[in-house]
Structures are given as C-alpha cells and as structure tokens.
Amino acid sequence: MKKIFSILLVGAAILACSKEKAAVDSPVAAAPSDVKTITVSLPASLSKVAFTPAAEPDGGVALSWAAGDKIRIISGSESAVYEIQPGFEGHTASFSGPSISGSSFTIIYPADFESESAAAAGDPFANQVQNGNGSTDGLKYVAVLSGVDSFEDIQFNEEWATAHGGSFRQNGVVRIREQFPAEVKSVDKVFMHVKVGSSSMGWISLDFPGGADISSDHILTAYAALPLGDMAIPAAVSIDLAFATGNYDTYTRTLSFESLNLLAGKVNTFNLDKSKLTLQPFYDGAGTETRPYLIGNARQLGNIEAVLVASEATTVNYFKLISDIDLAGNDWDTIVANPYKLIHFDGDNHVIKNMKTVNGGSYEGGFIGILYGTLKNVTFEKVDVTSNSNPSGAVCCWAGANDETTWGVLENVHVKGGSVTQNVVQQMGGIAGKARNASFTNCSVEDVTLTATTCSTSTGDNGYGGIAGWAHTSTFTSCEFKNSTLNGGRLAGGIIGYAPTAVTVENCLSSGTIKAKKMNNRNGEVAGGIVGWWGGTALRNCTSTADISTENNSAAGIVGQVGVNNLTVEKCAYKGGKVASGAHYAGGIVAYANPNTTVKECYSGGTVSSTSNHAGGIVGFANTDVTVKDCYSIGSINCGAQCGGGIVGELSSGGSVSNCYSMAAIGGQRVLGGIVGRACNAAWDVTVASNNTVTACIAWNPSIICTDTRDANSAGGSGTIVGFTSVKNTLSKGYRNSNIDYQPSDSEYAGHGVDQPDCDGTNWAKGTTPGTGKKYQCPYHGTAAAATATVTSLATSLGWDTAVWNLSGDRPTLKANPES
C-alpha cells in the first residue's frame, strides 16, 4: 500500500514542572515510538492560495487567490507558467503567460510543480508549519486538471474538468481540535502517524514556532494540508497522535477506524476530548543508544529511576536532556535503583538548576546514588545536597563498581554554585563521594562549599575531595576545583581526599580554600591542593592556587602526604596561595613524602608555613631515599619551630636534592636552610651516616632569618644552603646569593655565609665542624655567587638539563609547567 504522507516532531520552549514519579506507570511500555525529527518543511513558496476558516467552529475553509500566484500549463513538450494579474478577487483571478498550443492540456497549481507526478508526491507535506493556534497561514493548496481541452476560464473542480474531457484532483485539509488538561498552556508540535496494522502509511508533523497559545480554553486547533487526492484506506487503520507541549511534555492517543477516508477538497475534522490523552513519561525516545529517552522537564527527569528499576541488569538505559531544567520548589529524590542498573545520561550541555536533595535512605544524597555507566555533558547549578547516611557528592554517592566490571564514567560534568554537606562519618566530594573503577574527565566544581560536620573518631579514613572524597582504581583528567571551599576533616584534597591505590591524576587544577579540620577528636590533618593522601599510580601536570590548611599535620600545595613508597609527583605547580599546617609538615608540593618518593619538575610560588617543624618550598618532610630534582620555589617559607628549607624542610637519609633553586624568603625559629633545613637522619648526631646528597643547587634566597637567638650549643644551626647537615652527606656544587641576609640563631655566624668546598661525605669542610660549645653549628654554604651572576647563569654553568629548564630569563623556569 502506498504511503500517503511522511514525518515529524520535536522540540522548543522550556517550562519546568514538578517531579511526579507516582504518576508514571510503565515508562518503557508507554513511550511513543513514532516521534521523529526532520528539519525540512513545506516550502513557503509552494502555494500562495489563502485559506480562511469559517467563523463557526465546525465550518470549512474558504480559498482565495493571492498575489504572486502562478499556474503551470503543459501541452506535450511545452510548459508555460502563467502569472496572476492585478485585479484578482476571492475565487477568481486572471493569469497571463506565453502562448501555448495543443488540444490536451495539464494545468497544475502551483506552478512550482513541473509535472503532475511531482504535484502528486506526498513528501513535501511531511513537515508543515503554522503560525499559532487556529492558524491556516501554513496551509498549501495543490490542484491538477489533467487532459482538459482548454485553458480558458479554468475552474478547479470536477465539473469543469469533466465538461472539458479531463479529470481533476486537488488536496484536502486535516483539522485537529484537541482538548488538553488545564495545565497545558501551549503546544509546540503535533505529530500524526497513519498505520495499517504495524505498517506505516505515512505521517505529517506540524510545527508551531514559538508555540500555539491555548491558555484561554486549553483547546488546540491545528490545520495541516494533505497531499493530492483522496486518502481512502479500506482496512482497519489507526492514527497515532502525539502533541508536544510548551514545557516538553508529550501527550499521545491512538484513534482506530475500520476504514478511513480523508477526502480531497474537504476539511477532514477531528474533535478530540482530553480524557483519552496519555501523558508520556518522557518527551520522546525508547531508551536505546539510537533513540535515547529525551528529557525536557523535571517530571521527566524524575522518571529515570522508574526506568532503571524496571530494567534488566545488563541493559544500558540511555537518556538525553533536550532542555535546561529548573528544580526550584521541588526536592530532588536521588535516583536509586537497587540492585544498581546501567545508565547512559547525556546532558547535551544543558543545565540542571536548583537541585536540593532530601536524604531519604541508602545512597541518597546527590543526583544519582550509584553511577554504573556514563554521565556526561551536564552542569548542576546551585546544588543543595545533604547526606545523612552515605558517601555524598553533588552528582553521585558512588561512581563505578567494586568488581571492576562496571565503570562509572563522568565526562564534562560540572557543579556550579551551592553546597554539599556530609553529616555522617562517610566520604564527601564535589561530584562523587566515592569512586572505584571510575573516570572523571573535564569535570569541575566551581563556587561550591563542601562541608563535613563530623569525622571518624579513630582509624577509619574517609576522605574529602573537591571532585571525589575517596578514589580507588580511577582516573582524573583535566578536572578542576575552582573558587570553592572544602571544609573537610582528615584527608582533604582539591581533587581527591584519599587515593589509596591505582589512581591517576593528570592536568587537574584547584583554587579556593581547602581545610582539614579536627572533628570528633580526629586530627584535622593531611590536606593538599590536589590530593590529600596519595597512594596512586601517576600524579602529574597539576596546578593549584588554593589556600590549604590543616588544624594538625601535613598541608601542601599539591599532596598532603605521599603515603605509599616509590611514587612520583611530577610537573606540578603550586602557583600561589597559602599553605598552612597547624602542626608539622608543610610543603609547596608535598607535605610528607614516604620513602623513595620522587618529586621532579615542580615549583612553588606560594607561602608555606607550619606552626611547628618541617616546612619546605617543595617538600616539608622527606622520609628515607626521597629524590627532589629540577624543582624551585619563589614564595616564602616560615617554619614555626625548626627545619625549614627553600626546597626541603627535613631530608632524612639517603635522599637527594639536585638541580634546584630557591628564591624564597626563609623564616622560622631555627635550623633553616636556603635549600634544605636539616639533612641529618631527622636527628642531631652529625656523625650518623645519613647519606644524603645535595648537589648543583642554588640558594638565591633574599633572607634566612631565625627568631630563636640562642647560640649554636643550644639551638640548631642554620646555613645558606643546608641548615644542619650530617658530616656523612655529599654536598657539592652549591651556590648562594652573595647578598643573602643570613641571620642564624647564633649571631656569631650572621652575615652572608662563608664559602665551603664540596664534601663527599668523608672530608668534612674545614671550619664548619661543630666546635666546642657549638655542637649544632653544622651548615653547608657552598660558594658565594659572583656579583654579576644570575640564577640562570649559575644553572647553565652547572649543566642543568635544557630539555627540562627554560634558561632564557634571569632565572630558570620549567618547560613542562610555565609560570604564566
């Protein structure tokens, strides 16, 4: 059977409505299946004949000629276009065109059609447009007189055609008058699909740009043109109707007929009562990859959970936003499907605003409880998320699954404005509370306040992170914690609070404020601009400008504590801000470094301070065998007690600091060094074989000033390169700023330092061995640079790697992480 028309439907305006999960019976079964999108519409030039509806509600339409109308006359191979002449009125007009001869003519209106077959095609009628409720402006007229013997005094009707030996065909009109529930104020689109059994006979879609206003009586009157000829279907036939409203709701109903005759030359009318309309759970779609459920309002957003609950465990359920959605005035009930189901949610770069969660049970406290699958391209604005039972994040409580079979994938997901509050002893993150087998790519949290109100009392470590509180076997790429505040407890980080294993963090940023507070008698410690506690795989190319503070130990610009041995932190920068440890361990990059940590190609431009020991421009406390290479600091370091260094505060044993420089002003009570504070096995016995190496470093600090004024027999000594060193260290190729303001505790040694030859661990330099009554006087000063020297000239003379360093300015910068 020939198809009689072709397709349409889909979307425009925005109007959020309330979430009404209870109103949905079976979203999957009830979803419309025939709604499609096509951009082509009936050309405006196709017909100019005007349709005027009769005054009474159920009348027909009057036709009248319009300026610019043209008729085509065909005779054999000749084809001529006749143009309407001035003076036309209503039904009658005169047309003028070139001479044409013959005995049998085909007369086509409009002339745009070059043949009768072209005029009979149905496709141009698939997509139509009307100007508003009841408008006939978009109706098109088509008529063909075929085989007539004259083209004088033409009448477009059957009688005239018969009288002139020919036949006549014209098109008709459909008028749908549909009543809607009172809450429907406008209609954007109508979709009409004719089917015989399951076979499609064709469709018409009708678009109302700007919407058809039905606010007065909630009745839509929609006119659409039919293709040429009668549409007679002598069989059981159904018509699926779909109406898209101004707030993206879709109403449907199906009409059934034993046969159907849509007549040409008639207005075929449908007066339809609202009682038989069905409100669909989604705007459109089938939940598949090619036809995701389309979501345009809050009610539809709330229907996701019902789909997941009804889903098979292995089915991926696809959703896509088609509009921004404002949830203001409606509490958001976190999407929870237990057991958890697979979801693919594409926000299509839309915004979900004013999401306020109500904690009602397990894994409620964000947009979705547990994310198995993908969530992407969406921004949550002005969130108000509170958790009273589980890990909490604005987007999800958990991302990913423990068994590694199902990942949580978050791409281009942003949280902007609002707050997340964790009221129980659980993790908290700006996006996810916990992440295991999850990936975060191009995700951000901006202008958000994250607050934990409690913390575990003993050994249970939770984690509070700008993106994720806790992460295991996960990746974080190009994520940002921006201008936000994290009020966490123990283990707090701008991206991750606690990352125990198998985590990669790359190209991430943080700014704002990050705090680890003491709560529940649990020390507020271990905070970093990027990660609080780090046991992951790779941490590189990250930058922070946040203010980071702890009420107890370990605060740093990048990592509070590298807690697993043999890890590397590289190409990271703390570009500004303040690091403040409330006790020990403060670092521009790392506060506390476990054995065999490597920190390379990093720099700090921030202010680093501890209220007690161990403050370093790069590393606060370096456990055994830590390597710091190709790093520099240009901010300031203040050590509340002892062991403050421009690069490392405390270098325990077996460590190495090479090719580094510091321009930081160093302050503290005692044991301060331009590069390293103390390098003596974290103790005071200078004869212990600590086996550290400090080589090819440049102390370009403006000042090293101790506030403890006791002499070197009572207070630990300081030095321009190393403050207090074991005699069993290798100290070589060190340069210091010749004008450095060097004020150690023991004023006897104040000045600019004294030159010392290199020491290989066996030949302790003359004049620096602790003397009688000066047991803590054991510094390393290296060599004073010439007055004309620059850091760059010294670095060049020391052979610093030009693949790592940019040596073009007065001082070197890192190629991997430029300052600007």
């Binding site: 009348g59 036709l63 070139p98 001479s99 044409i100 033409i154 477009f156 159907l260 075929n268 007066n271």
Partner: protein
C-alpha cells in the same frame, strides 16, 4: 549625469530591460471552498 549605484533606475551591467508587454494569453481561473468531512467528533469534557 549621476551614475552612483544608489540611482536604481540605471541598469546594472548585464541586466536587461524587462519588456513592457508581450503576446501572452490572458485566462481566468476560479477556486472552490472546502467544507467539512467529520472523521471524529467527541464532546469536550467540561472543566
């Protein structure tokens, strides 16, 4: 003589003058109105 482009009565290069009259036929044509063909006629629910 003002040959500025704003003077529209001057033809652009290559533009031809449209003939004032030509030997075309004049014909009259008429249309018919459409009345209704009820397909479904339900009574609207009173609000």
């Amino acid at each position: 003589m003002d040959l500025s482009p704003s003077k529209k009565h001057y033809l652009a290069p290559g533009q031809r003058m449209r003939p004032i009259s030509y030997d075309g036929n004049i014909l009259a044509s008429s249309l018919s109105d459409m009345d209704t063909n009820p397909i479904v006629d339900e009574t609207f629910t009173e609000d």
